[in-house]
C-alpha cells in the first residue's frame, strides 16, 4: 500500500509544479514594469536596461494620473543619451535599496535614480561624470524656519533612509536624534506631527514639499560639491561609461541639460493653505491607477492561496504517512516556515535566487512562492486536523469497496476534511489578502505599492491610505460572503 501512496504523492507533486509554473510564469511575463522607448526602428537596436526606483519626483516617478509609465528628469536624460548612441531603452522598476545588487547581478545595464556617486558606492560600481549637483536644504515648520545646521543643535532631525542627505543629517552637531524614514511623505507627516523638528532633503524635493504643504518652509544649505553629485551607475568595468560621458559633456555644452532641468524642476509657489489635514480631492486622477492594483492583489492572493492549499495538502499527507522520512520532512518544513518572519522569506527568495542560481526570478513569482510556501506550513497543520476529524469508518468503507488510496483521499476524505476546516481556510485567505501588502517592498505593483507611489507623488499620506484601507476591507467583506455561500453549499448534505 505504501507503494501506492508514494506514487500518488509524487503525481500530486508533479501536478503542483505544473500548476505553479504554468499560471505564475505567464503572470510574471506580464509584469514588466516601466516602459520601453520608441519601438519604431528600422534596424534592430541593442537594448539597454536601466534600473530606477520611481518614487523620487522630479527625477523619476510613476505617472499615475495618466499612463502609469515612469517619467522624470532622469528618464529624459537617459532617453537622450541612448538616442544619441543608438540604443533602445528599457526601464526596470525596483526598490532603491536593490539597485546596486541589480547592477552586480547583471539584471540591469545601468542605473539612474538620483543616485550620488559616493566613495562607498564606488567600491562596488562604476560611475559616469556627474550630471547634476543637488543642493541640500533644511525643511521645517515655517514658524521655526531653521536656516543653518547650527540651528539644529538639540533638535530631532529627519532624513530619507539611504539618501545622501542621511549622511548630512548624521553629521549635524548636537542633534538630539537623527530619524531615518522610508518616504518623503513620511517626513512631512512627522514634521506636521512635531515628532521631528526639521528634515534635510535636496532642493527639488524641498520645493515640492513646501508647494504642497502650507506651513512648511525651506532654507538652502551651502553647496557642497564634495559629495560627487548625481551620476549614472554601471557595473564594474562596464564598456558604456566612456560613451555615456561623451554625451553628458555634449549635453552640458549644447544646453540640453539645462533645458531638461527647466522642464522638470518645480518653481516655488504659494501652497494652497485651504487644504485640510484630510482632503480627498488630492486623489483626483489617481483613483484609476490605484484601482488597477486590486487585480494584482487578488491575482497574487489567488496564486499564493492555491499554492498553499496544494502544497499544504501534500505536506499533510506526508504528516499522516507511515513513511518516516516524509513525516520528518513535513515536520521540519512546518517548523522552519512557521518559525521565521514572512518578510525575511520574501526578501531572501527575491534577492538570493538570482545570485545563487542565476535565474532572474520575477517579483510576482517570488512573492507568490514566498507566500505560498509560508501559507502551506500553516495549512498543512489545519488540513491534517481536518483529515483526522473525518470518521475512520469512512476510510474503512472506501477500503472495503476496493477504492484505491489516492481516489479515496481525493473524493472521500478531502471533501469532508475541507468542509470541516472551511472557516479556518477563510481565515487564512483573509490573512493572505492583507499580508499581500508586504509584497510592495519588492516592487510588485499591488494596491499598497500603488498607494506608496501616490504618496510619493502627492506628498500626502492620509487620503490614499484611507482609500486603500477601504478597498482591502471591501475585498475581505466580499470574500467572507462568498465563503459563507460556499459553506452553505458544502453543508447541504447535513
Amino acid at each position: 500500500m505504501n507503494k501506492h501512496r508514494l506514487l500518488y504523492v509524487s503525481m500530486l507533486t508533479l501536478v503542483l509544479l505544473m500548476a505553479l509554473f504554468g499560471p505564475v510564469g505567464s503572470i510574471a511575463a506580464q509584469e514588466v514594469t516601466g516602459q520601453a522607448a520608441e519601438q519604431t526602428s528600422e534596424q534592430p537596436k541593442k537594448t539597454l536596461i536601466m534600473g530606477t526606483s520611481p518614487d523620487y519626483p522630479p527625477y523619476e516617478s510613476v505617472d499615475a494620473k495618466n499612463s502609469g509609465e515612469i517619467i522624470g528628469l532622469d528618464i529624459d536624460i537617459a532617453n537622450y543619451i541612448l538616442g544619441e548612441l543608438g540604443y533602445e531603452l528599457k526601464i526596470q522598476s525596483m526598490d532603491f535599496s536593490g539597485l546596486i545588487a541589480a547592477l552586480q547581478s547583471g539584471r540591469v545595464d545601468f542605473v539612474m535614480s538620483g543616485m550620488s556617486a559616493t566613495e562607498e558606492r564606488k567600491q562596488s560600481v562604476d560611475f559616469s561624470e556627474p550630471y547634476y549637483f543637488a543642493r541640500n536644504t533644511i525643511v521645517s515648520k515655517a514658524e521655526f524656519g531653521y536656516e543653518t545646521l547650527e540651528d539644529l543643535k538639540g533638535k530631532v532631525v529627519g532624513a530619507q533612509l539611504g539618501s545622501i542627505q542621511e549622511a548630512v543629517a548624521n553629521e549635524v552637531e548636537g542633534a538630539t536624534e537623527v530619524r531615518k524614514l522610508n518616504k518623503i511623505a513620511d517626513l512631512i507627516q512627522e514634521i506636521n506631527s512635531n515628532r521631528i523638528d526639521a528634515a534635510i532633503v535636496e532642493d527639488a524635493v524641498a520645493i515640492e514639499m513646501t508647494n504642497t504643504s502650507a506651513g512648511l518652509a525651506m532654507n538652502f544649505l551651502p553647496a557642497d560639491e564634495a559629495d560627487g553629485g548625481y551620476a549614472i551607475a554601471f557595473p564594474k568595468n562596464s564598456p558604456y561609461v566612456a560613451e555615456f560621458n561623451q554625451v553628458i559633456a555634449q549635453m552640458e555644452e549644447n544646453g540640453k541639460l539645462d533645458e531638461l532641468m527647466q522642464k522638470w524642476f518645480p518653481e516655488a509657489k504659494e501652497a494652497d493653505a485651504s487644504r485640510g489635514i484630510i482632503d480627498f480631492s488630492v486623489l483626483e486622477g489617481y483613483v484609476p491607477y490605484i484601482l488597477k492594483g486590486i487585480g494584482v492583489t487578488l491575482l497574487f492572493t489567488l496564486v499564493s492561496a492555491l499554492l498553499g492549499l496544494i502544497l499544504g495538502s501534500i505536506l499533510s499527507l506526508f504528516k499522516i504517512s507511515s513513511i518516516k522520512p516524509l513525516k520528518w520532512f513535513a515536520t521540519a518544513y512546518t517548523s522552519v516556515f512557521r518559525g521565521t518572519p514572512l518578510l525575511v522569506q520574501l526578501t531572501l527568495i527575491y534577492y538570493a535566487t538570482p545570485q545563487l542560481t542565476g535565474y532572474d526570478i520575477p517579483a510576482l513569482l517570488a512573492a507568490g512562492l514566498a507566500f505560498g510556501l509560508n501559507s502551506a506550513a500553516y495549512l498543512s497543520e489545519t488540513i491534517r486536523a481536518g483529515i483526522m476529524a473525518v470518521d475512520k469508518g469512512q476510510q474503512e468503507a472506501a477500503m472495503a469497496l476496493g477504492i484505491p488510496y489516492s481516489k479515496m483521499m481525493v473524493s472521500i476524505i478531502f471533501p469532508q476534511a475541507l468542509r470541516n476546516i472551511l472557516p479556518a481556510l477563510v481565515n487564512e485567505v483573509v490573512a493572505l489578502i492583507k499580508e499581500s501588502s508586504l509584497v510592495s517592498v519588492i516592487g510588485v505593483a499591488d494596491l499598497m505599492r500603488r498607494a506608496d507611489v501616490v504618496r510619493a507623488d502627492t506628498f500626502r499620506s492620509f487620503e490614499v491610505l484611507l482609500l486603500v484601507a477601504a478597498i482591502y476591507y471591501v475585498l475581505v467583506l466580499i470574500l467572507t460572503s462568498l465563503a459563507r455561500a460556499l459553506e452553505r453549499r458544502l453543508r447541504r448534505g447535513d
Partner: protein, 241 residues
C-alpha cells in the same frame, strides 16, 4: 469451497484476540457468527477482507491466498462486500452517488449503467424514492439498506455483515434483516456477526460460536440452539435467550 481459513491468529501486542481459527465456508453458505462480546467475532470478520491484518495463518478466497504478501488487496476487496454497524455512508454524496461511486471509479462501469444498476438495487431494498437524498435525511434503517445496496453494486461474491442492526432503533431492525434474509435466499455467500438469535436461527445455514478467540462450534442452527455441544455455548445461550 469459497473461503478456507487455516490457523488464523491475530494479536495486538501481547493481547491475543484470535487464537488459531480454521474453517471453510462453501459457496452460497450463510454463516451467522455469534458469541460474547470480546470473543473476536468482528476481528475474525475484518480479517477476511484484510481490514485487520492477520498475525499468522492463511486465508484463501476462491483461488487467491489473500494473506500472501503478493496479494492485490484492492482487487480482492472488490469481490467482498462489507456492511458496517455504523453504515459509513459518504455524507457528501447523495444516495445514488454513494452507490455508483465505487463501480464507476474502480471498475470503470459507465455512469449510465451504474445508475441503472443502482436504481434496481434501491428498488430491491425499497428505497427507490430516496435516490437523490443525502444520507443525513435518512433513518438508521434506511441508511443501512443503502449501505447494503452500495456493497451489492460492486457485484461481490461474498458479503460480510458486522453487527448490521446493533446501531438501529428496535423498530428498524426488521426492515434491515428482511433485506439480508432476501439476499441469503438468493444464494449469496455471507458471514454475519449478529446478536439477533432469532434471525440467526432462521437465516443461517451454519452457526459459528466464538469464545475467547477460538471457534468453539460450527454447527447447523437447529442443533446449535437445541443442544449445543459445548458447555460454553450452552451457558451463552442461557444468558441471551
Amino acid at each position: 469451497m469459497v473461503i478456507n481459513v487455516q490457523n488464523l491468529t491475530k494479536a495486538y501486542g501481547k493481547h491475543q484476540v484470535l487464537k488459531g481459527i480454521s474453517t471453510t465456508v462453501a459457496k452460497g453458505e450463510v454463516v451467522a457468527i455469534i458469541g460474547p462480546s470480546g470473543s473476536g467475532k468482528s476481528t475474525f470478520l475484518r480479517c477476511l477482507n484484510l481490514l485487520e491484518v492477520p498475525t499468522s495463518g492463511s486465508i484463501v478466497i476462491g483461488n487467491d491466498e489473500i494473506t500472501s504478501p503478493k496479494a492485490d488487496i484492492a482487487r480482492i476487496r472488490q469481490h467482498i462486500g462489507m456492511v458496517f454497524q455504523h453504515f459509513h455512508l459518504f455524507p457528501h454524496m447523495t444516495v445514488l452517488q454513494n452507490i455508483t461511486f465505487a463501480p464507476t471509479t474502480v471498475k470503470g462501469v459507465s455512469l449510465e449503467q451504474a445508475n441503472k444498476k443502482a436504481m434496481e438495487l434501491l428498488e430491491k431494498v425499497g428505497l427507490k424514492d430516496k435516490a437523490n437524498v443525502y444520507p443525513s435525511k435518512l433513518s438508521g434503517g434506511q441508511k443501512q439498506r443503502v449501505a447494503i445496496a452500495r456493497s451489492l453494486a460492486m457485484e461481490p461474491d461474498i458479503m460480510l455483515f458486522d453487527e448490521p442492526t446493533s446501531a438501529l432503533d428496535p423498530e428498524m431492525v426488521k426492515e434491515v434483516l428482511n433485506v439480508i434474509k432476501d439476499l441469503a435466499q438468493s444464494g449469496m455467500t455471507m458471514l454475519i456477526v449478529t446478536h439477533e438469535m432469532k434471525f440467526a436461527r432462521e437465516a443461517a445455514d451454519t452457526i459459528y460460536f466464538l469464545d475467547q478467540g477460538q471457534l468453539i462450534e460450527a454447527t447447523p442452527p437447529q442443533q446449535f440452539f437445541s443442544k449445543p455441544s459445548s458447555e460454553r455455548a450452552a451457558r451463552f445461550l442461557e444468558q441471551v435467550l
